[in-house]
């Protein structure tokens, strides 16, 4: 029998007992549906986390600080070294953070693989104001490769000489804008006190509005031009002899492999610095979510295994019912391999039917539910589609279900194949 004929015959046969096929397809449907939903949940949440993480910082950058050498219990106070500067730490009382100097930045930049080092300066901005309306407090940070999820407008241009700012969407209404679109392109005034306490103002243009996000700090992002202007304003009146010090530096590197990154990390720690990538800081959240998705997937697979027994049962009955037909075909010279292929193909077809309908229903229902949730209970987390279906994982689900159906079909198919023609024909 030709392969195509086998396939056609198998499909025809599977529709011969409609009720039985329908019930088996339903059992597989449940498994495929659950698996597709949990898969969509995993894809949706990890997409969201990835975009949120990208909004906070670049993936190809370390945040480098001086390693704290004095935090060990019972180690006593550190001996004074005239070459180190200490900043009051933000941690527990008494903890200190050693500051980075220009010499440190040069050392970090010398590590092979590091393409650029920029100090993290603290800009103590005081307020933001638009059109002489009310003033609001503001904290700003430099956009070090981060990709904020924008509600309106465009991302910052670090090459532009014009000062630009991205504001969180929570600022739109208080500053007096009617909506995000109106705010984009407007000039705002930023107040910053200088070294002598005098308030200085810098004007910047709103380049974009950031969606409210899971990991956002509520601060604004600024471009290099604005950062320079604010730094200058803040430094006005600083004694000329005071050398600049920094709490931390951002070291960027070319996209690298896991081992290259850990190599750079160990080099930096050997030199007395602590380097953390964004993944280091966010990694645990993702691990927990992957764990939850894994457990849900396991339940779906249990449902599928149960459905697999349904397939075994359906096909065993089918083999029983068609014993004489099998005998007839074998008496007419049909090989055992063809008989096996015929029944296996029938099983795989039932699996395909169940998984297509199951995945299709899951995608349809999931998309509707996800949109409803995004508009309703989850609207505070802008950009979160709790269920999102990528073609790859859905295809994997369909293939997996078909594989389970095929394996379930091998037992009945083997029983059908090994029968002696005349024994099958004599079967009552």
């Amino acid at each position: 029998m030709k392969p195509l004929e086998t396939l056609k015959t198998a499909i025809t046969n599977s529709f011969r007992s409609k009720l039985r096929t329908t019930l088996t397809v339903l059992a597989i449907f449940v498994g495929a549906f659950t698996l597709t939903i949990t898969n969509g949940l995993g894809t949706g949440i990890s997409n969201y986390i990835d975009s949120q993480v990208a909004a906070v910082g670049a993936s190809n950058a370390f945040t480098v600080t001086r390693a704290d050498t004095g935090s060990g219990l019972g180690s006593g106070p550190q001996k004074y070294d005239p070459n180190t500067r200490v900043l009051a730490g933000g941690g527990r009382p008494g903890s200190t953070q050693v500051a980075l100097t220009q010499a440190d930045l040069d050392k970090i930049g010398a590590v092979p693989g590091i393409t650029g080092v920029s100090p993290v300066t603290r800009l103590n901005t005081a307020y933001i104001q638009w059109n002489n309306q009310d003033k609001y407090q503001l904290s700003v940070s430099v956009l070090a490769g981060a990709q904020p999820q924008l509600d309106a407008g465009q991302n910052l241009d670090d090459g532009s000489p014009a000062p630009q700012i991205i504001l969180p969407s929570s600022y739109v209404a208080p500053l007096g804008f009617s909506d995000s679109a109106q705010a984009v392109g407007q000039d705002v005034t930023i107040g910053i006190p200088d070294a002598t306490g005098t308030m200085r103002t810098v004007t910047a243009r709103i380049n974009g509005i950031e969606q409210s996000a899971l990991l956002s700090s509520g601060g604004a992002f600024i471009n290099k031009a604005l950062s320079t202007a604010l730094t200058q304003a803040q430094a006005t009146g600083t004694p000329a002899t005071s050398a600049p010090v920094y709490t931390a530096a951002t070291a960027t590197f070319a996209p690298s492999s896991e081992s290259q990154i850990s190599g750079m990390k160990s080099q930096l720690s050997g030199a007395g610095y602590t380097a953390q990538t964004l993944d280091d800081r966010i990694g645990t959240v993702k691990t927990v979510i992957n764990g939850i998705i894994g457990v849900l997937d396991a339940f779906a697979v249990i449902a599928l295994v149960a459905a697999g027994f349904g397939i075994v049962n359906t096909l065993l009955m089918s083999v029983q019912e068609r014993t004489r037909e099998i005998g007839l075909m074998k008496a007419m010279g049909m090989g055992s391999g063809s008989v096996f292929a015929l029944f296996s193909a029938e099983a795989a077809f039932i699996g395909l039917l169940g998984s297509l309908i199951g995945s299709g229903a899951a995608i349809a229902l999931g998309t509707v539910v996800s949109h409803a949730l995004a508009r309703g209970p989850l609207s505070d987390l802008a950009g979160l589609q709790i269920l999102s279906f990528a073609p790859g994982p859905v295809a994997v689900v369909i293939v997996l279900v078909m594989a389970i159906a095929f394996i379930a079909g091998t037992l009945p198919a083997w029983r059908a194949a090994r029968q002696n023609p005349i024994d099958s024909l004599r079967y009552e």
């Binding site: 029998m1 002696n420 005349i422």
Partner: protein, 232 residues
Amino acid sequence: MPVPILSTRDLTKTYGRGPDRFDALRGVSLEIDRGDSVAIVGKSGSGKSTLMHLLALLDTPGGGSVHVEGTDARSLSGRRLNALRNQMFGFVFQQFFLNHATTVLDNVVLPLKIAGMGARERRARGMAVLEQLELADKARNKAGNLSGGQKQRVVIARALANNPRVLFADEPTGNLDSATGRIVEDILFDLNQNHGITLITVTHDHDLAARFNRRVYIRDGQLITTDEEHAA
């Protein structure tokens, strides 16, 4: 002397074991020549059907051997065996074994489908053989809607689809009224006499057996020389 198309030597077949043991065949040796018409005659339980199943290579003997054109059937590979069943033998089953849900044509072309013939060729050959048995107008009917005589002719058409050289028929007239039975008999003998097909038939009907070139009588699993039953 030409090699017989089918021959058996000391053929035995046993069903069950222990107290349920039943010896269906107890050493049957037989030779059937090309183009011959042979009736295997015996009462029910005599082993006549078992003998024919072994000759048609549908079953494996307990002992002894079956030779097809001089080749021992046991030495045949699975593929060769399937090719023989498909190309060389046609089998007319007493219980018909038609698929009632599909059309007459689909039933008839089943051996061609198994042989891997293309759909168009299959249809042409199927219609030709239905024509031969005057069933062409029933080709599109569901097999379940036919009368007994028509079903028997469909089964013969199916057996003939692949141009077999040996046609086996198990009680071909057993389920038919005498008029229809006569028509089916005529078809079988026409195939034997005008198409050179070797005809091997199992029957307990002595009138039918009388029309055959040669009769083989079997009782309790052994061949007997004369028709004692009939003579007595």
